[in-house]
């Protein structure tokens, strides 16, 4: 399958040029099992430098210090846990960290209510197991197993959605750094460089709370929502650009005014007050994350490209906003209408088309 037809390339393929340039220009010592030094990994993630003629784009826009702590954690072979609201780039950061350190971000376990212990450890090819008995060949290795063998990073997404016995399976792996296979009478020691990056969602708190024992084995980094409008605007703009390049949306990029409007609406409804702090607002049940703002704009571009003029119109945007803001709850609809009348309507001519389009959808 040619790479062109893949819907979404893994980070290491998408940014191969940048990674290669950084590796080629390496000057600092590289930890065992890593492909580049911690400092180069930091450059890869926060961008803003030009290495060997290749512009390094920022992958994570926000606190540089948090990225430093995350990388430093992996250097000390501790496991890293990224916690945050939905849409604060936890998985995104985890993917790029793995891409920078190993050039492989694909050893992923997706945590769900149905995740079993086997998916963390190993399972069997049962046909072969029955035919030949337990043997290394009959083993189906989990991403964590493979990471231990190769001394690389395994990613576990949404760890707090896994049942607690599944989480517990991780404890021995993280503290002993070895995995026993009693069926074959052997133990797999983790090679140097093995580590785990897990992500957890603060909205999932209480679903399957992580035990203190497991938490203690992680260094925890809390990812905040973007601190100010400018940062969030930059994140949305960059990501929309990257997305639209990959998706052939046939529409021109949203202008800065449109992006600002969307981000402003999201920030205000998320924070429960207008940006100038003068007016209190009802919040909605949805998270209204930065990631949602990005997908909303991409979605509007798709609407404009497929059914409209190729330029995002107020109506395209309004349809997206409606879906993002008004989740299935009745109260969201009220909050949204109030926002339209009390805030948006009074914002002047720049906001008028959007207001009217939203108004039409809400009758």
């Amino acid at each position: 399958m040619s790479e062109k037809n893949v819907q979404r390339l893994p980070a290491e393929a998408l940014y191969q040029r940048e990674l290669d340039a950084l590796i080629a220009a390496e000057q600092d010592p590289v930890p065992t099992g890593w492909r580049m030094s911690p400092r180069s990994a930091l450059t890869y993630l926060i961008g803003g430098a030009s290495v060997k003629g290749v512009e390094i784009t920022p992958k994570y826009i926000g606190s540089r210090r948090l990225v430093e702590i995350a990388i430093a954690t992996l250097v000390t072979d501790r496991a890293l846990l990224l916690i945050g609201e939905p849409g604060t780039a936890k998985s995104w950061l985890s993917e790029h960290l793995a891409a920078a350190v190993n050039g492989d971000s694909t050893k992923v376990v997706q945590g769900t209510a149905g995740t079993t212990e086997e998916q963390i450890r190993y399972s069997w090819n049962y046909a072969m197991l029955i035919a030949k008995g337990p043997s290394p060949e009959a083993m189906v290795k989990s991403p964590v197993y493979r990471a231990m063998e190769t001394g690389s990073i395994a990613r576990i997404e949404e760890i707090s959605r896994c049942a607690s016995e599944v989480q517990d399976a991780l404890i021995s792996i993280l503290s002993e750094k070895r995995l026993s296979v009693p069926e074959l009478g052997m133990e797999v020691p983790a090679a140097k460089g093995f580590s785990v990056i897990a992500t957890a969602n603060t909205r999932d708190k209480g679903v399957n709370d992580m035990s203190a024992a497991l938490k203690r084995r992680f260094n925890i980094v809390v990812l905040p929502t973007p601190s100010d409008l400018e940062t969030e605007l930059e994140i949305v703009r960059t990501r929309v650009e990257q997305l639209s390049a990959g998706l052939d949306l046939n529409a021109s990029l949203p202008d800065s005014g449109t992006v600002e409007q969307v981000v402003t609406i999201f920030r205000e409804l998320r924070g429960g007050s207008t940006l100038d702090g003068k007016q209190k607002l009802k919040t909605t049940s949805g998270v209204l994350s930065t990631a949602e703002a990005i997908s909303l704009l991409a979605n509007s571009m798709a609407l404009a490209g497929s059914f409209g003029s190729g330029v995002i119109s107020a109506a395209d945007l309004a349809a997206g906003l409606q879906g993002a803001v008004v989740k299935d709850e009745e109260s969201d609809k009220i909050s949204w209408k109030e926002y339209l009348e009390n805030v948006m309507k009074k914002r002047g001519s720049g906001w008028l088309p959007l207001y009217q389009a939203c108004r039409e959808l809400n009758g």
């Binding site: 430093e68 430093a72 000390t76 846990l81 203690r216 925890i220 980094v221 809390v222």
Partner: protein, 754 residues
């Protein structure tokens, strides 16, 4: 060839600078150490070197005339200046301050209002620090720590500091005023150095410790001439040493005045003297873990170890050799705080700021008020309250009978006097808490907390007198002379009483007396009399002779009696105030035999009788009389009939009843005849009048409790010949729909036509 004096540039409050400075001193073996500091305060140095002195401490210079202006030179154990002084003391080397005298500094500060046409240039030192932060992406404290605190030897350290100082000086273009002050100070310092050379100390044997910023100035500028020195302004001032606190050091940002993490810097200082900076991470994180555990949280040693490792990796990414505070704190938040700073905030404050306060040996040159303050703290056994933690002190003012001597028996009373005197002086060492036990006048509750501000406030009060008591007396006297109303004067009198200062109380009393000649409102007179009454009643408890107060109390009471009738001619809005004053006066009269009871009762009957006064007041007067048992049944019956007769406007009648119900309801309820009259009166009213009366009566009965209403029900039941329970049901039951509507209509009742 003549050598040159050693100019050793430092940064104030920098542990590494202090550490290396001592090594530099060891290497140079100077014959004279000159330290940047007010040159008139050399006599404070030996106290700094006293073995009982604990740091942080500060040299405080203050003007002797009000308004008091102060300058502070805080010194922590890791201050390079202090270490230079201590080194000199330990090695028997002469040491002197070399900066402008404190009086000149104070005078310069005062006379240096920014010129009007002068604008602060954008490129001042703050601007340079801001730019540094933009370039490094870290706070300038962190920058300093990474680049300077981690230097390993004194030669490099000196070179680095001097370079930094020179470049900072080159980059910063301070305003004219600041530049001028800097130049004057440097010229003076250079003059002092020159004088030392003239006195025969070989130049190369002179070791000058000053801010790195001043080193280029001392190298290049010319010394101050005699004429220039004579022309320096001079403020009349004095100086003292005072204990300082780490909290205060941390809250004062800005170069030289403080640093954000004094307790952490002390850890750094300790580490330098033991295992070196490599031991700092474990020291810091272990302290932090302990503080966090103390607050009831679980921290495992494994987390501390991981924290140390993470901090080391973090600093390596920033290219520094040892982790600095920012690295350590971030590592701690990640490994111990589950990623949230808020979890660790309290422990971080304890570890980085700490609750350290300094202490000075006895006999240190203090102002006499300070001496007195500390002497009394000791004598009154309050020394343990001299801490940064808020502590509560409960006092029992009564004499303790089972102890040996008078002094101990009245310890709590004397404490109370002392704390009240501090309060009067505006020294925020103790704050009174509201009394907890209703009516227990012998209990007093205080919140005690010592801060360096307290020390400054104590020093400031030295302007008022030589002892706490003397200063308090002076403060009260001044306040007394400035007071313009009897309320104010009574407050001062009460303060003097609480402070246990009879002389001051007498003075306040004379002021009060003088003021009471002028007209004052009834309510104010009543309130003032109430305050005096408290003193007369409870004076014994505080060993206060209240006899001189009695005549004034009588005088005020008389005044109130004379103005009461007039005051009762008021509108409905003012009437509650008047009735409150009447109540006040009544209680006064009851508690003091010296007040004429006869006159009072006569006056009340007069108020009660008169028809032209506010009916609420008249009713209330009747209520008091009723309570005193001064009304005969027949008179009451006549009065009720008269006040509630059909001809009288309903609002006046009901208002009178409201006043009557304002006091001692049992006396009312017990009189069946009264309710019969009320019943008759109400039945005689026509619909319109009834509606008016209802408004007032509803208000009058709103204050009655359920049991009181029950008793009324009993009365009415008897009058109407119905079962008491039935009546109670009607009275207490919820309102029906129609009744509620009717009442709602009353809300719109138009009073304009009354």
């Amino acid at each position: 060839m003549m050598g040159r004096p050693v100019l050793y540039g430092v940064r104030h409050l920098s542990p590494a600078m202090a550490f290396h400075l001592r090594q530099a001193l060891d290497a140079h073996r100077p014959a004279l150490v000159l330290v940047e500091g007010p040159s008139d305060l050399n006599d404070q140095m030996h106290w700094l070197c006293h073995p009982e002195t604990r740091f942080p401490a500060a040299i405080l210079a203050y003007t002797k005339a009000p308004p008091v202006r102060t300058i502070l030179y805080p010194l922590a154990v890791y201050s390079p200046e202090l270490q230079a002084i201590l080194w000199a003391h330990e090695h028997g080397v002469e040491c002197r301050f070399m900066d402008l005298p404190s009086g000149t500094m104070l005078a310069l500060e005062e006379g240096s209002e920014p010129l009007e046409d002068e604008e602060e240039p954008e490129e001042n030192t703050e601007w340079v620090y801001r730019r540094l932060e933009e370039v490094t992406g870290e706070g300038h404290d962190t920058f300093w720590e990474r680049k300077f605190e981690q230097i390993g030897d004194w030669q490099t350290c000196r070179k680095a500091a001097n370079t930094f100082g020179a470049q900072l000086r080159a980059a910063a273009q301070d305003g004219k005023r600041r530049t001028a002050q800097t130049l004057v100070r440097e010229a003076y310092m250079k003059r002092v150095i020159g004088q030392a050379v003239d006195q025969g100390t070989p130049p190369e044997k002179i070791f000058c410790v000053c801010g790195a910023f001043h080193v280029p100035g001392l190298q290049e500028n010319t010394p101050m001439t005699d004429e220039e020195e004579a022309a320096l302004p001079q403020a009349d001032c004095a100086a003292t040493l005072m204990p300082y606190s780490y909290y205060r050091l941390s809250s004062r940002s800005g170069y030289g005045a403080g640093n954000k993490a004094p307790a952490y810097f002390e850890l750094l200082w300790d580490a330098l003297h033991r295992e070196g900076l490599s031991g700092l991470p474990s020291r810091y994180l272990a302290h932090l873990a302990e503080a966090h555990r103390k607050a009831g949280n679980l921290v495992s040693s494994a987390e501390v170890i991981e924290g140390v490792r993470l901090a080391q990796t973090l600093c390596a990414m920033r290219g520094s050799r040892y982790p600095c505070l920012a690295d350590l704190r971030d590592a701690a938040v990640t490994t111990m705080g589950h990623g949230n700073f808020s979890e660790l905030a309290a422990a971080v404050a304890a570890t980085e700021i700490g609750s350290g306060i300094g202490a000075l040996p006895e006999g240190v040159s203090r102002t006499s008020v300070q001496e007195d303050f500390y002497r009394q703290l000791k004598e009154l056994r309050l020394e343990k309250y001299r801490g940064l933690e808020r502590q509560q002190l409960d006092l029992d003012l009564r004499e303790r009978l089972h102890v040996k001597d008078q002094q101990t028996a009245l310890l709590d009373l004397r404490r109370s006097f002392f704390l009240h005197r501090l309060r009067v002086l505006g020294i925020h060492f103790a704050a009174p808490l509201p009394s907890r036990q209703e009516g227990a006048n012998w209990g007093e509750y205080w919140d005690l907390r010592w801060t360096p501000e307290v020390e400054i406030e104590v020093v400031e009060s030295s302007l008022l007198g030589d002892t706490i008591e003397g200063a308090a007396a002076f403060a009260l006297k001044e306040r007394g002379e400035a007071s313009t109303s009897i309320g104010e004067a009574a407050g001062i009198f009460q303060d003097a009483f609480l402070c246990g200062m009879p002389a001051a109380a007498r003075h306040a009393l004379s002021v009060l007396q003088a003021l009471s000649v002028d007209a004052a409102a009834l309510t104010e007179v009543a309130e003032t009399a109430g305050r005096l009454s408290l003193v007369v009643r409870y004076g014994d408890l505080r060993r206060f002779d209240a006899a001189p107060v009695v005549p004034l109390l009588q005088q005020l009471f008389l005044r109130a009696c004379l103005t009461l009738e007039e005051a009762c001619q008021c509108d409905a809005k003012a009437a509650p105030g008047v009735t409150a004053a009447m109540d006040h006066l009544d209680r006064l009269q009851l508690s003091h035999d010296c007040l004429e009871g006869e006159r009072w009762l006569e006056l009340l009957s007069c108020v009660s009788d008169r028809d032209d006064l506010n009916t609420l007041c008249s009713g209330f007067a009747m209520a008091i009389l009723l309570e005193r048992g001064a009304v005969e049944e027949a008179l009451l019956a006549r009065e009720v009939a008269r006040r509630l007769s059909p001809g009288v406007p309903a609002d006046l009648g009901a208002g009178w009843f409201e006043g009557l119900a304002g006091k001692n309801r049992y006396a009312l309820i017990a009189r069946l005849s009264l309710w019969r009259h009320l019943d008759d009166y109400l039945s005689a009213l026509d619909d319109g009048q009834f509606r008016r009366a209802l408004v007032f009566l509803r208000r009058a009965f709103a204050g009655f409790g359920p049991s009181e209403k029950n008793d009324i029900a009993e009365n009415l039941g008897e009058i109407w010949g119905v079962n008491q329970n039935q009546a109670a049901e009607v009275l207490m039951g919820a309102l029906t729909q129609t009744e509620q509507e009717a009442l709602k209509d009353l809300d719109d009742f138009d009073f304009d036509d009354i």
